[in-house]
Symmetry: C2
DNA sequence: GAGTGGTCTAGACCACACG
DNA sequence: GTGTGGTCTAGACCACTCT
């Protein structure tokens, strides 16, 4: 069979954005092509994908490569997989790129909104115990702490408090105060963001939050705490973002084969 | 080399809990052994793992199998990976099993808490547009809707509203009202939970929430909406859980290679 | 029984990090 | 340059689903 298929391996020489180690890998091209076909609806809403062998033949690659491509789609929640039957289309892609998740600026632009922000303060001081623990610092080490108000097309939506270890902090401190995206600038200076752990819960606005966001003190805020590390495992930031309710939500896909999400009792201290 | 290594392939013939298609796969045994070694601290906090080839030799498997095992640990956020250097230990495992995430009962027990609950209501009625959309039902189809109050060692922590499609609902309706875990019973009846999409945000308590949870009306609640599907892609539940603040938090690990987390603007309707 | 995905192997080449 | 992980291949066998 071969003829009714709408998509083919249109040579995607390079996709922009955050491209991992090898952005031009064969299996990524296959994955991109299949993703395109799926979201276009070429296989229907709950339709079945062709067999791995058929895909391998169509794309002119080995079955192993096809499986690698399908693993990507599997992790993104696009398709299921079960021994004995064809893969089934689950839904449309909604997973964002990693950088889009870490960078408020990048994210806002992808939405078509105008990202804005104001650096409220930047201080350098000795790290407290919790910060040393999170950033894996020696006793006596110093940290750089920033407080920023983030806006989406003019409206305040989030307060961001970030703690940087010294080797990142010195770079942040040098940046002009009007720089929109710290993340992008840091990447240009060789600071890589590759892994992040997020914790999401609800917290009451303190006086500072209330003033900046224009809400009552004690009003509920959606809090996302995030610790990001570079490929060597060294922490590069520890951030705490507080969003006004109704402005954002977080989504996760998981399955028996890919978990990465967990639920915890009791919010740990502040 | 072989002698100073503390861990070995202690034959784990079978691990309990939710075991996927092939729970006794070689790479899973290797993954389990490495996970054990890592969390025990055999490689140090930010230590380096042996090379893939060395691991392959130690376990007597091919490099491909080792890589499969390492991919599991990678997705769980236990280790990093970068071309050119050894893998680095990131942190300790905190990811829960899939069933622990879906089943309140299972989760509570794993915490050492006593799960409790009360079925407030169970009704059968025609699905509205949103429900048909979520559960992929035909116009005119009926759904089963449950309202449950969940307790942890006696204290109310969460209100759960679940909508079941007909083929699952009939089973739920037959269950005795004092059954603690619906999830476990459904699995015994052949209803499989394999994939879930979660959305997390903040919502104000309505009159019903307030009465059940004992909070003020309008008080903030942490909301988790979840749509679960079986391996054929058919939705099996659509649930909306509302937690009292301070009782739970959600954690996600993600990286450049494994995303599955996303942030969205504006909370979609109710 | 035929078809399909899950697992495993053995080997190859490449891109990158680091000394 | 050497070692490492990233990618790719070709083939094999098994477990499972479905008809």
């Amino acid at each position: 069979m071969g003829g009714t298929v709408t998509s083919s391996v249109t040579q995607l020489d390079d996709q922009e954005g955050q491209d991992g180690p090898s952005g031009g890998a064969l299996y990524r091209q296959v994955a991109a092509d299949l993703r395109e076909a799926i979201t276009t609806g070429a296989y229907g809403e709950a339709g079945r994908l062709p067999a791995e062998g058929a895909l391998a033949e169509r794309y002119g690659v080995s079955r192993g490569t096809v499986r690698q491509a399908l693993a990507v789609l599997r992790a993104d929640g696009l398709v299921t997989s079960r021994r004995g039957t064809r893969r089934v289309v689950l839904g449309n892609a909604r997973v964002q790129s990693f950088s889009e998740l870490l960078s408020f600026t990048h994210w806002a632009r992808a939405l078509g909104e105008e990202p804005g922000g104001r650096l409220e303060s930047l201080v350098r001081r000795p790290a407290d115990a919790a910060e040393r623990e999170q950033l894996r610092l020696e006793p006596g080490a110093e940290v750089y702490v920033t407080l920023r108000l983030r806006t989406l097309s003019g409206t305040a939506v989030m307060v961001e408090r970030t703690v940087y270890p010294p080797h990142v902090g010195v770079l942040v401190a040098k940046l002009p105060p009007d720089v929109v995206s710290h993340t992008e600038h840091l990447r240009e200076h060789g600071i890589l963001f590759t892994d992040a752990d997020h914790t999401i819960d609800v917290v009451a606005a303190n006086a500072e939050d209330a003033k900046l966001l224009g809400c009552r003190r004690g009003a509920p805020l959606l809090r996302e705490r995030r610790r990001t590390t570079d490929p060597t495992g060294r922490p590069v930031e520890w951030s705490q973002d507080r969003y006004l309710p109704g402005t954002v939500s977080f989504s996760v896909h998981n399955s028996m084969v890919t978990s990465a999400l967990s639920r915890h009792a009791r919010t740990s201290d502040d």
